[in-house]
């Protein structure tokens, strides 16, 4: 039997009939996250890193403590390698826009070679595709998928060369649920080019699987606070210090400055150099509490709960006629992000009907992964459920009932013989 965890989430109490199956888009918020943000706003509101008075010191202390929580969550070595950002998209753009200072490849005749995967979210695809347009000699390649919706590692070895500058990949696909063998992939990539810069998009991983950046041996890793039970508008970029030192600030202004004169500016050290402006203080504090929440539940409970439900959901969905699942069948290499189509039922209609008939929240569309849908799955859109800690087996049962209701509404009543 799976553990009941929905009581942590006020939204489940506010609307007990809500069946929220869209954690991959954004997770629900547990009470402790709300409480910590409210405490900041009601008890010690002040700016960080500047005031001398006691509330400012409290705020700075609580805010900076979140860096340590993030460091521990991903197994990084040094808190100064944790840069607070507005989320994964922001983090990845920070690196892609700094490619000219990160690598010498842009000065070489062949230009940079950037490799992404067919399962990347637009946030880890478009910034790279865009930056390559600045370099006429640069090249952009996409690693294909195998038939079982895992990355095609043979294709990976064919594409990577000793000149490849960047390999950007998702830890977990936000459409297929595939958990990529990131460590193995990075080892292969470093065999081919020891200097390759590897960027891991951990948006769908950070709340679901334990991460260890040192063991993975990636160069950068990003996640969003709002997908790990924290508030929107938060996230981190982690990078190896030797790379972060070379990242050009994306924003210039206050908080990042050691000294300014009319003639020149000297920046602070990491992480402040990359965090200009007053940050999202309450948000970062909330993200810290979200990490506390995850750690207090523990990854072994989280993965047990989610694997059990994923297995159950896959079993139940497979019993539905004309339903196709896009993703690995084996729950050992996947998470509870499950995309599917049902013949003759458009995903939008499925999502509308499940909402009105069963108060189920699930996503329909291409989930910001258009290349994957159009060029690899060959469907314009899918319906997607994604499992979070609040979900139960009953939620899956309601989903299955809802899909049968949708079928009754949408499918043509058979008038005797089929034409």
């Amino acid at each position: 039997m799976n553990t009941k965890l929905s009581h942590y989430f006020p939204q489940c109490t506010h609307d007990p009939t809500l069946i929220y199956l869209d954690t991959a888009a954004t997770s629900l918020t547990p009470t402790n996250v709300l409480v910590s943000m409210e405490r900041y706003y009601t008890q010690y509101r002040s700016n960080v890193s500047r005031g001398i008075y006691s509330n400012a010191e409290t705020a700075t202390k609580v805010y900076e403590a979140v860096r340590e929580k993030c460091r521990a969550l991903i197994g990084a070595q040094d808190v100064q390698e944790i840069i607070f950002t507005a989320g994964t998209t922001h983090s990845i753009n920070m690196i892609s826009s700094s490619i000219s200072t990160l690598t010498d490849d842009i000065n070489r005749a062949h230009g940079p070679h950037i490799v992404v995967t067919a399962m990347d979210h637009h946030a880890n695809f478009v910034p790279w595709q865009h930056v390559i347009t600045h370099y006429p000699e640069g090249t952009f390649s996409v690693i294909d998928l195998s038939d079982d919706y895992t990355l095609n590692l043979t294709h990976l070895t064919e594409i990577l060369t000793e000149k490849t500058t960047i390999l950007a990949l998702p830890y977990i696909s936000n459409v297929l649920g595939t958990i990529n063998p990131v460590r193995e992939i990075i080892a292969i990539a470093r065999d081919i080019n020891p200097d390759i810069i590897i960027v891991v998009d951990a948006a769908q991983a950070a709340a679901h699987v334990p991460i260890d950046v040192l063991q993975l041996d990636c160069d950068f890793l990003a996640f969003s606070g709002h997908k790990i039970y924290g508030p929107t508008g938060t996230g981190i970029l982690w990078g190896k210090r030797k790379h972060l030192e070379k990242v050009e600030p994306f924003l210039f202004g206050g908080e990042m400055i050691a000294e300014v004169t009319h003639e020149q500016t000297i920046y602070k050290d990491l992480p402040q150099r990359l965090e200009a402006g007053t940050p999202n203080i309450a948000g970062v504090i909330g993200m810290g509490s979200a990490i506390d929440f995850i750690q207090s539940i523990g990854f072994s409970t989280i993965t047990d709960h989610e694997k059990e439900l994923t297995k159950y959901a896959l079993e139940q969905l497979k019993l539905i006629d004309d339903l196709t699942i896009y993703g690995p069948q084996d729950e050992k290499i996947r998470t509870g992000v499950i995309s599917f189509t049902v013949d003759n039922m458009h995903p939008h209609d499925i999502a509308s009907i499940l909402s009105t008939e069963k108060n189920i929240a699930l996503r329909a569309g291409n989930h910001c992964a258009m290349p994957l849908h159009i060029q690899h799955m060959d469907v314009p859109a899918t319906a997607r459920i994604s499992i979070g800690l609040h979900n139960t087996r009953e939620d899956i049962d309601h989903l299955v009932d809802g899909l049968e209701i949708a079928r009754k509404i949408l499918c043509k009543p058979s008038k005797g013989q089929k034409v």
Binding site: H346, H348, D349, S352, T356, A364, N366, P380, A381
Partner: protein, 126 residues
């Protein structure tokens, strides 16, 4: 409000004017990138009258029904009927209230038909 009313489902299951026209005078395909819907509209306009209109493509019940109803509404009428057709007209013809997120589905056929109409008018001027 339940948007899957009998009339909408009837149009979805058995759309009117569904298919391609031979020798259309105007044609355009419209997309809704977020949901992957695609609707193409073919028109034959002869002496300012829409003598024939058809649609084809793929999409949800709302976008398909709206396309079917639109073609019924303007077929055989003066071209101005299409030209002057507004968003509110389509919503009235559909007879349901659409949420913000489904509005694009309901209006794809209208936008596409307008583009078809204007695209070829401009081309024939040149």
């Amino acid at each position: 409000m339940n948007i899957y009313q009998e009339e909408i489902l009837a149009h979805y299951h058995e759309p009117s004017n569904n298919g391609e026209l031979k020798d259309p005078t105007h044609t355009h395909c419209g997309f809704n990138p977020t949901c992957g819907d695609k609707i193409c509209i073919d028109l034959i306009i002869d002496h300012d009258t829409i003598t024939d209109i058809s649609f084809h493509g793929q999409g949800c019940a709302i976008s398909q029904a709206a396309a079917s109803m639109l073609t019924e509404h303007v077929k055989g009428k003066p071209a101005n009927t299409l030209k002057n057709l507004t968003k509110d007209d389509i919503l009235e013809i559909l007879g349901v209230e659409l949420s913000m997120n489904r509005m694009k589905c309901g209006l794809l056929a209208l936008e596409t038909a307008h583009r078809a109409y204007y695209k070829n008018i401009d081309e024939s001027k040149s």
